[in-house]
Amino acid sequence: MQREILRRCATRSVGPIVGLKRCYSTHPPNARLNVPIDYGTTPLLSHNSQSALKSTELPPEIRNGTTKKMNLFQAINDALGIALAEDESVLVFGEDVAFGGVFRCTMKLAETHGTERVFNTPLSEQGLMGFGIGLAAEGMRPVAEIQFADYVYPAFDQLVNEAAKYRYREGTCGRSAGGLTVRMPCGGVGHGGLYHSQSPESLFTHIPGLRVIMPRSPIQAKGLLLAAIRSNDPCVFMEPKILYRAAVEHVPVGSYELPLSKAEILKQGKDVTIISYGQPLYTCLSALQRAEQDLGISVELIDLRTLYPWDKKTVFDSVRKTGRAIVVHEAMVNAGVGAEVAAAIQEDKDTFIRLEAPVARVAGWSIHNPLLFERFHIPDVARIYDRIKSVLSY
């Protein structure tokens, strides 16, 4: 996606919009914080086989195996291919998935696994969600795609009142919508405006019965998606679309899962804990690297991975150690995931007494995602950097 944006800018400079002064991906000449994320060198991605295979979360046969370079959409495609091959009850469907999907996540799946198992649905989010719930309730493992998270709302009733409550209301009848996984591209992409940028995760983290997951990288996308598909609880799997092409790393070949409801400590530190998920983790890393250089401090970075039910223990342990916490997300600040994490931190008796500063949140403003102003809306390196400084000087 990043490359696409660059390319579009290039096209524009010779196209009709010659007056456009600044492309999305450029930055002010003197900027030292808000420079574009370099996905080609970030340590959050595994740029070689060794780093991809070192995670102890991977099963031994995978760690002794090989890797393949993939971007995020290819990793998702790989996971879907594995799920379809391993389990005949897996079905993949949504709007435009048969030809490969508008983001290429379902490429070649229909050809390989048949149009009975990988198919287009009519353009109706409530319909395809209800259809998926019915499939799951009769023992299948449907993987439904909502083309953009921004368009999930017509399916909200089906997700909240049906998918989430199915097991509870069936009780001893034992049926559930647990086989259901719903994938949806989410987050800002530089030019998505109001309806191609949203991050509605907190609307789902408020719903008991749903598991809400957001990966930050191809390795995670594959492992967490396979875990979600195999999970017997309905899962909302949110894919930061800006990473589809931008995030490239070595991904283990073969079938593996990463644990749900388990956070990952990406970087150890002792002065402040940053908790985030999805794309902003890269922004957080840039900000904390600058802060560490400038202030001589060390920052711990945690990737939540599963946003609900979330891994409180890992977060509390970290904050008890550092005494300071900042939660960062793209979605607007009010009633976001940050509100829940911050409240839980201060509510936990053993963590509260270790706090040296108020828990801070860096998130989208409480506005809709405005096309022209996105760069001022989504948390950037400067805003996170500034918050690290202010939390430390409290």
């Binding site: 696409e4 005949e88 508008v102 009519p122 409530q126 969600m129 083309q147 509870y168 409801s261």
Partner: protein, 450 residues
């Protein structure tokens, strides 16, 4: 609803930008349909075989004939479809009648029980017993059923006992939903009926999906028994977006599902005139490319014949949906929370009760055939009444489900959060024992500390 700007941009740009990754776009198959010069018919992808016309004329629904209503037996119990032969023995007919009777007797008792405060809520299905009992009676036991909430007859026909009904209505330990659902939200694993949820029409796309599941399971294992899904809903629910979504996806994915609409004239207080202006629900099925029939819902034989044929059709050619609109009249109030005389005349209701009622119609047919009489009627009514009353008083004495059930089944396993919340509740009960009554729950408050 949506602008797909990004999607379109992506599509246009990607093959150029990333030939190695994106590959070439598949050309849409429909594009090899082309409009031949001087053609008399339209060959656009959106509508094939449409003849061109030079007359400017809008289709007027009012000039179209109203779809007919199929009946086998008239109001006097006289057979009007001369090709009709009962497909079951007199004993089986009596069984159907008794199931309808049971539901109507249970309705009277439970309606009063709610009025006395012995059950929190109830909904009768008076006037509509033939739709649920009749259609279910011709389905296979393995066929999957989804209900709205006025289909007690489906549960009874499948084998729900008075004990099963009362367990759910009184939310005791026998309630499958473990005290979580309102009364009348029945469900049964053994009987292949999904649990009722209050949300209207949400079960319709579930039924399409479940039907697709059955179809896929049969593709996987051709020796598996052919099965269909039947789904019930009212004419009011058909106004929900999920109705549209369900019929459309069932048609495009060729799902073996029978949509059974109970058109009883009212959605709570709203008469059909304020619900729709087309020719009922049946006329819509045709628009979705679904074979459709309208039947007299007070004629159990018509319901049976239509459903039997629909089931056969649904399984043909790899599967397809069928729509049945059963015309009835909601004789009773919408629910115990409703006084229907606030919006309709008492006389109208009395007319329906007296003149055309599914029970009396079948009874007349049975009496004419000589397999039923006044004595048998009285016996059957008394026995149903005793059965319900006995199960009711037994159910009242049963324990309620354990309190722990309130935290379970949110997820497959109890999460850490839920475990700590369960403990928090237990602590409160320990600290304030006088504030709560926990004795009626199985295991008392101790179930929370397991």
């Amino acid at each position: 609803m949506k602008c797909r700007t990004l999607a379109r941009l992506s599509l246009r740009h990607r093959p150029l930008l990333h030939p190695a990754v994106g590959g070439t776009l598949q050309v849409r198959a429909a594009s090899n349909l082309s409009q031949r010069p001087d053609s008399t018919h339209l060959s656009f992808p959106g509508a094939l075989k449409s003849a061109f016309t030079s007359t400017l004329k809008f289709e007027n629904p009012e000039t179209r004939p109203t779809l007919p209503t199929y009946r086998v037996v008239d109001q006097h119990g006289v057979v009007v479809d001369q090709s009709f032969e009962p497909d079951i023995s007199d004993e089986k007919v009596i069984e159907l009648y008794k199931n309808m009777l049971f539901v109507s007797v249970m309705d009277l008792i439970m309606f009063d029980a709610q009025r006395q405060g012995r059950v929190s809520f109830y909904m009768v299905s008076a006037g509509e017993e033939a739709v649920s009992v009749g259609s279910t009676s011709v389905l296979d036991h393995e066929d999957v059923i989804f209900c709205q909430y006025r289909e007690q007859g489906a549960f009874r026909q499948r084998g729900f006992t008075s004990r099963d009904f009362m367990g759910q209505l009184l939310a005791n330990v026998r309630d499958p939903s473990r005290g979580r659902n309102m009364p009348v939200h029945y469900g049964s694993k053994e009987l292949n009926i999904h649990t009722v949820s209050s949300t209207l029409a949400t079960q319709l796309p579930h039924a399409s999906g479940a039907a697709y599941a059955l179809k896929m399971q049969r593709l996987r294992d051709p020796s598996a028994k052919p099965r269909v899904v039947a789904v019930y809903f009212g004419e009011g629910a058909a106004s929900e977006g999920d109705f549209h979504a369900a019929l459309n996806i069932a048609a495009t994915r060729s799902c073996p599902v029978i949509f059974i609409c109970r058109n009883n004239g009212y959605a709570i207080s709203t008469p059909t005139l304020e619900q729709y202006r087309g020719d009922g629900i049946a006329s819509r099925g045709i628009g979705y490319g679904i074979e459709t029939i309208r039947v007299d819902g007070n004629d159990i034989w018509a319901v049976r014949e239509a459903t039997k044929k629909a089931r056969k059709m649904a399984l043909e050619g790899g599967g397809r949906p069928v729509l049945i609109e059963a015309m009835t009249y909601r004789v009773s109030h919408h629910s115990t929370s409703d006084d229907s005389f606030a919006y309709r005349a008492r006389i109208e209701v009395e007319d329906w009760k007296r003149r055309d009622n599914p029970l009396t119609r079948l009874r007349k047919w049975m009496e004419a055939k000589g397999c039923w009489d006044e004595v048998k009627e009285k016996e059957a009514r008394d026995s149903a009444r005793k059965d319900v009353l006995k199960a009711f008083s037994e159910a009242e004495r049963e324990k309620k489900p354990p309190m722990r059930a309130m935290f379970e089944d949110i997820y497959e396993d109890l999460t850490d959060d839920l475990k700590s919340q369960m403990k928090e509740l237990k602590d409160i009960l320990d600290k304030y024992p006088d504030e709560y009554e926990v004795g009626e729950f199985e295991g008392g408050k101790e179930s929370l500390s397991k």
